[in-house]
């Protein structure tokens, strides 16, 4: 698939799995209890469901881009975390192609990226994907 300028990329909504937060906690060596212990979330007044790790939220975007550009590679990504994403919520990643340029490294796609959870914008930013020149 070759995306065109202005084209929007998205995927079907996905459920945020609390069990995956245990995997992230192990991989990240992250002892922050709000990802694995709902009582810790309640005690901090942050809600009544565990909160997904930031890298987990970014990965929804990354996986969408990897699927859309199977011959490409991620060259850069910059995100703002705007709200928490809770276990069991449905998230939808999206990206809009802002520019396409040929460079010495290959074809360079600049994209505006976003992640919505149950309709809330929870992450936004931009990404750069490099693909082989055509």
């Amino acid at each position: 698939m070759m995306l065109a300028l202005g084209e929007t990329l998205t995927t079907p909504e996905q459920a945020v799995k609390p069990e995956m937060m245990h995997v992230w906690a192990k991989v990240l060596r992250d002892p922050n209890p709000i990802h694995t212990d709902v009582e810790a979330v309640r005690a901090r007044g942050l809600g009544d469901r565990v909160i997904n790790q930031g890298p987990g939220n970014i990965s929804y975007i990354m996986n969408m881009l990897l699927a859309a550009f199977p011959a490409g590679r991620l060259a850069g990504i910059k995100v703002r975390f705007l709200d928490n994403v809770f276990g069991g919520e449905l998230v939808t990643p999206s990206a809009v192609v802002l520019s396409i340029e040929d460079s010495p490294e290959g074809r360079r796609f600049s994209l505006a990226i976003a992640l919505h959870a149950e309709g809330r914008l929870v992450l936004d930013g931009d990404a750069i994907v490099l693909t082989p020149s055509v």
Binding site: K17, M20, V23, W24, V27, L28, R29, D30, P31, N32, P33, I34, A40, R44, L46, G54, P55, I58, S59, M62, N63, L66, A67, R73, L74, A75, G76, I77, K78, V79, R80, F81, N84
Partner: protein, 148 residues
């Protein structure tokens, strides 16, 4: 408005890792499979390892870094922004060294979160040839409800 004081002055604190970090192919496979995606067949690590590998390979654990900020990790630090520049794909079973430092720790008051500290730091992954393969810049929010 009450005085919310100042955080510790840790700008410039070195985060250089003491030993090389290796992204385990088995762990990468576990992570990818958990997310429902196939691991790359050519040994590339999932790009989210920009964050994971640098965090694990830096000199301090998350708990220790928070402690330098006079903040208990049990009080739930949150990511505010994150940026990665990949100069080459990240590979599994390949040693990388981590270089980095704390850029700033600033105390401020947020309408949404109340008093908080903003921690900014940068980390790089260096391959065995001395080439930088990744640069990352991260900002964490350290809530300070006791100061609000």
């Amino acid at each position: 408005m009450s005085d919310i004081g100042s955080p510790p002055d840790i700008a410039g604190l070195s985060l250089d890792g003491a030993a090389a970090i290796v992204i385990s192919a088995d762990e990468n496979r576990m992570l990818c499979e958990g997310m429902g995606v196939a691991p790359a067949s050519d040994g590339q690590a999932h790009p989210s390892y920009y964050y994971t590998a640098t965090q694990i390979g830096m000199r301090l654990t998350v708990r220790e870094l928070c402690s330098h900020c006079d903040f208990d990790v049990e009080n739930a630090p949150m990511m505010a922004t994150s940026e990665a520049r990949y100069l080459a794909p990240l590979m599994t079973e390949t040693p990388y060294r981590v270089r980095g430092q704390v850029d700033s720790l600033i105390r401020k008051r947020s309408r949404k979160l109340g008093a908080m500290d903003l921690l900014e730091y940068r980390l790089s992954l260096i391959d065995s040839n001395g080439a930088t393969v990744l640069e990352t810049f991260n900002t964490w929010v350290l809530p300070r409800p006791e100061l609000s």
